[in-house]
Amino acid sequence: MLAIQLAITGLQTGALYALTAVGFSLIFGSTRIFHFAHGATFVIAAYLFYWVYGTGWGLVPGVLAATLGAVFFGLVLDRLVYVPIQRHEGSFFTVFVASFGVGIAVQNVIGMIFGRGFTSVSTPLSRSAEIIPGVYVSPLAWIAMLCTALLLGGLHFFLRRTHTGAALRALADDPELVRTFGLNPRRIAATAFVVGSALVVPAAIITSATTGLNPTIGHHVMLISLAATIVGGIGSIPGTMLAGLLLGLAESLALLVVDSQWTEAVTFAILFAFIVIRPSGLLGRVVAH
């Protein structure tokens, strides 16, 4: 019974991880930009939702505010930070450091505005109901899993069946070749940022109602996104989502064996193992050294 409950809890956590990581994976996979500030996008979206919803404007304005904020932030970062860097040097690490710096700054600004304590959005949806004896699931868990499924399907359709999706996949394969087809790699990259940043919103909203918010969660979000992207395989959206689910499951089921302090370490032990043994991840392409 406990194992089943932990498995279901794990799937819920995993669904959130998958939702969180998929935006980063899309951006990194298409543009090869190590967008460490993705965690900051998450924090901005979550706090905007918390603020708008909390001041009584309602769910839809809250979601809208979060989406607009996330997309705006992603675009601004691309325009003002990544583009100038790529223009003169664009080494992977320079971009990473710049992104990291922005992430730290945003985290602290949010802390100054909203305070450093934990806040959460109160909703009856977080209350669990007993579905079978000994197993409790909350409506939010179902919502999270539903979102994950919908997003997986939606992204698959978008990437495989639309022009923009094809352009994104082309960019991931070979940015220079994209130019010969008359497409502008910069504009496609911007699209990646728009879509990738918007994808963060469902996870941000659900997290605000379940685990709660704190300016430093951006770090944790980023670590999970990175772990899921690598374990799933860089460039593979289904891989990332699968990896997110698996990491959530592993973290939860680990409780059967170890104390809860070690669950975060389990995630990183898995990441480390994959990097050393199978860097291409679960579903990614083989990595040349």
């Binding site: 406990l2 809890t9 304590g117 934990f118 000994g134 909350s138 685990t211 104390d259 302090q261």
Partner: protein, 375 residues
């Protein structure tokens, strides 16, 4: 290279000018969490200590004005050590207020090596009683709280099986040890204990484990925002058992949480309606200034500050210089002190005994159920 030195030189000059101005006549230190996740406690502690400073200065208890040099410990041992080093080496205080078990343990060595008195009014880890003669406690420690809670839970409420969720740090571990010892004595059992890391915010897994134990009651030993999340998620995940906790839960956010309804909480027993002049003045002016009722934490830091005032005034009357050693000697020589809550005496190990109250949270307030005295 020379450019580097210019920059360093400029900054060094800035630092020199940034040094604090000469301290006021009487300065004591305070290591409170002013930022970070536990900043809410810092505000609560400061409310008490600041009020005491106002009263000491208004009464002209000391030859010169008194002030407190606050340093931010963030509730964490490392920043606290940095702050304490500054208080000892730069500000040069003979006496400092301390809070949080981990912080207090960390600075105790510095206090002892530099003969500076450190007074704790907020941490409740039982090993705080063993930190040397320069470390005093004006708050009853958690072992007393557990010793009051356990008989009530087991005998009066008939809850024989307790599960414990504790934060994995000195405080949590101390409470776990206490429960392990006390439960069997009262005829109950600590069926299982689950430790959580200090940064954890997700407890559905732990809640599931607690449910699986079939315990009648759950004891929550954590602090700050984490304890709120634990209680909320326990309820969210179908744990209906009685929840009990210690005095760390007595902060406004926690008491106001809807899921806290019905929780048993222990804490220092302070008779706020007492007519004795020190208590009455404290209660009236606290209410007037902050527009809410005082809690034990406010009392303790008021007392800790007032204690300095009393001791320093006595030393001035003797014509002795005010140093840590002199303050220690004076405290030992003084039979009793009139503080908020009554007239109290220090035990040899530098702790004060207060009775413990067992309370229940109803409608956002903690109502007393019973009181236990230790002598």
């Amino acid at each position: 290279m020379s450019k580097a030195f210019t920059i360093m030189g400029a900054f060094a000059a800035c630092v020199c000018y940034a040094m604090p101005a000469a301290a006021a006549d009487h300065t004591i230190g305070a290591l409170f969490p002013l930022s970070g996740p536990n900043a809410v406690y810092g505000d609560v502690f400061m409310a008490g200590s600041d009020l005491a400073v106002e009263h000491i200065n208004a009464d002209h208890m000391l030859s010169g004005p008194m002030s407190i040099a606050y340093e931010d410990s963030q509730g964490l041992p490392q920043p606290a050590v940095v702050g304490m080093t500054k208080l000892v080496n730069v500000t040069g205080v003979p006496y400092t207020l301390s809070a949080f078990t981990g912080v207090s343990k960390a600075i105790s060595t510095l206090a002892m090596r530099n003969s500076v008195i450190a007074v704790n009014g907020g941490g409740v880890g039982p090993d705080l009683a063993d930190l040397g003669e320069y470390f005093w406690n004006v708050i009853p420690l958690a072992n007393l709280e557990v010793r009051a809670a356990v008989p009530y839970l087991v005998e009066s409420l008939g809850l024989k099986k307790i599960a414990l969720i504790y934060v994995d740090d000195p405080l949590g571990q101390a409470l776990k040890d206490e429960l392990e010892t006390e439960m069997p004595k009262a005829g109950g059992e600590l069926v299982d204990s689950f430790s959580v890391p200090t940064s954890a915010q997700q407890f559905s897994g732990v809640a599931a484990q607690v449910r699986a134990t079939g315990a009648d009651a759950v004891y929550v030993a954590s602090y700050g925002n984490q304890q709120l999340q634990i209680v909320k998620q326990l309820r969210d995940n179908g744990v209906d058992a009685q929840i009990a906790t210690y005095s760390g839960y007595a902060v406004p956010d926690a008491l106001a949480l809807p899921e806290s309804e019905g929780m048993i909480i222990t804490g220092q027993s302070v008779d706020f309606s007492s007519e004795d002049p020190v208590t009455k003045r404290f209660v009236d002016e606290f209410k007037a200034k902050y527009d809410r009722d005082p809690t034990a934490y406010n009392v303790n830091y008021y007392n800790a500050t007032l204690l300095y005032g009393i001791l320093a005034a006595a030393l001035e009357a003797d014509g002795t210089a005010i140093t840590g050693e002199a303050l220690l000697a004076k405290r030992r020589a003084t039979k009793s002190f009139d503080l908020v809550g009554g007239t109290v005496s220090f035990q040899d190990n530098g702790t004060l005994l207060f009775p413990i109250e067992v309370k229940q949270i109803k409608g956002g307030r903690a109502e007393a159920v019973t009181s236990v005295s230790f002598n």
